[in-house]
Amino acid sequence: MPSSRRSRRARRPRLTIFLLVLASITIITLDYRGDARGAISGLRRVAHDAFAPVQSAVDDVVRPAGSFLGGALHAGAIEQQNTELRAENGLLRRQALQAGSDVQTLHALEQLESLPWAAAIPSDQSIPTIAGEVVAFNSSDFAATVQLDVGRNQGVDVGMPVVGGAGLIGSVIEAWSSGCTVRLVTDASSAVGVRYGQPGNYALLDGAGSGRSLVLEDVAPGTPMRRGEVLSTSGLEGALFPPGIPVAKVTSYSSTPSSVEESVSAQPVADMAGLQYVAVMEWEPSTTEPSP
């Protein structure tokens, strides 16, 4: 009798870990297949809503001290950066005017070519935006994300594109009452459809993790390419982003005789490490089928 009780006792931890592993694998499978995504998103929203006041309170206490220390340590650099930013601001204003004219020209050309989806694409200049501040970076070492201080109460929803500084920074993957999580274009699971070079050149820009270069996929060997070339969102039918938003600049490209595609690296146009104020675009992907 005592020996059978001991044997049961010995088996109990193994049974416990077996059941817990089984439960974990079941949850992972449900989330991975998307079967319980609604319930899981709901749980995450509730958790974020409950935790947001605490996070905000801690942030209010910690941020001034951090900013003061950071400012004291980098006062000279900040002054220099300020001067550079003023100069850059003037240049960007001129470029924005030029870009607006380019977008109009492109739309006119697309309509002239009778592309079925051209008329359905909104101009990104006219999309309303919600301004937000980055309050936290990467909640996981294995995902490039930021958290904003604007959420469903301000009109933010899952899937909305987010722009900051010079261009696209990512899209909203989770939204709760007072905040949202944005997956950055540098995240390893991010893929943005972009256009480059000649009209009709489309490719997929993949993220490779925080601080790493983006990788342009599906570029045929020998495709004319130049360093510094701006890759903008394609805005093709069903695309996740509106057309014409700058995403990255080409930093290097190469191909070997045996390669089936050009190896192209790019850097995001937005400064991902220095994000502070961003804008969430109130835009949803078009689901209409192109007319025959």
């Binding site: 931890p13 870990i17 592993v21 996070q55 990467n138 996981s140 070492d141 925080s210």
Partner: protein, 184 residues
């Protein structure tokens, strides 16, 4: 040596453990997430799970670790349940592997918990890569380890103090009933 397992946790134990998990969440998501080096930041949730296994033994550690992981998953953009799986396996393994260790040495505790943290990160990266997060192993693991391991050396002891306060310890080997016949 098998970890001797005590009875179920009492309500005060559960309340204290919940408080420690909440405190760890605040420290992780309101403070440590903003300490970034090469895109990585210190991580204490795996450390907490490992400490639960170290203090509470393999069975209790696995249960507490599972809860810690699930709570973490609520705030992570990665697949839900991944941290729960890693935390419960990590706590169980730490509890089982250290069942015969002398617990009075702080140095051993720091080494064990830091090793467990590194193992947890590696396991998480492997599972994330299996689930399609291609850069987890290739790009993210090394920076995560470089930042997390030194931070674990510093944070192990404070976390161990908190976990010892909250999680009832596994019975010492001497307290287990002797096999039949030896006590006569």
């Amino acid at each position: 040596m098998r970890t001797p397992e005590p009875g179920p946790m009492t309500s005060p134990d559960i309340a204290k453990t919940s408080l420690v998990v909440f405190l760890a969440l605040v420290v992780q998501y309101a403070l440590l997430d903003n300490v970034r080096v090469d895109g990585a930041h210190p991580e204490i949730m795996f450390l907490l799970a490992a400490a639960a296994g170290y203090v509470g033994g393999s069975e209790r550690g696995a249960s507490v670790g599972f809860v810690i992981g699930l709570v973490s998953d609520l705030f992570l953009p990665t697949t839900f349940g991944l941290s729960a799986l890693v935390c419960c396996v990590l706590a169980y393994t730490t509890g089982a592997a250290t069942a015969g260790l002398v617990r009075s040495s702080r140095g051993i505790a720091v080494v064990v918990l830091t090793l467990a943290e590194a193992t947890g990160l590696a396991l998480f990266a492997v599972l994330a890569a299996v689930l399609g997060l291609t850069g987890a192993l290739r790009d993210s693991l090394v920076p995560a380890l470089v930042v997390t391991v030194p931070a674990s050396v510093v944070l192990s002891l404070p976390i161990l103090v908190l976990v010892r306060w909250a999680v009832p310890p596994a019975l010492p080997p001497a307290a287990t009933p002797p096999p039949a016949g030896l006590g006569r």
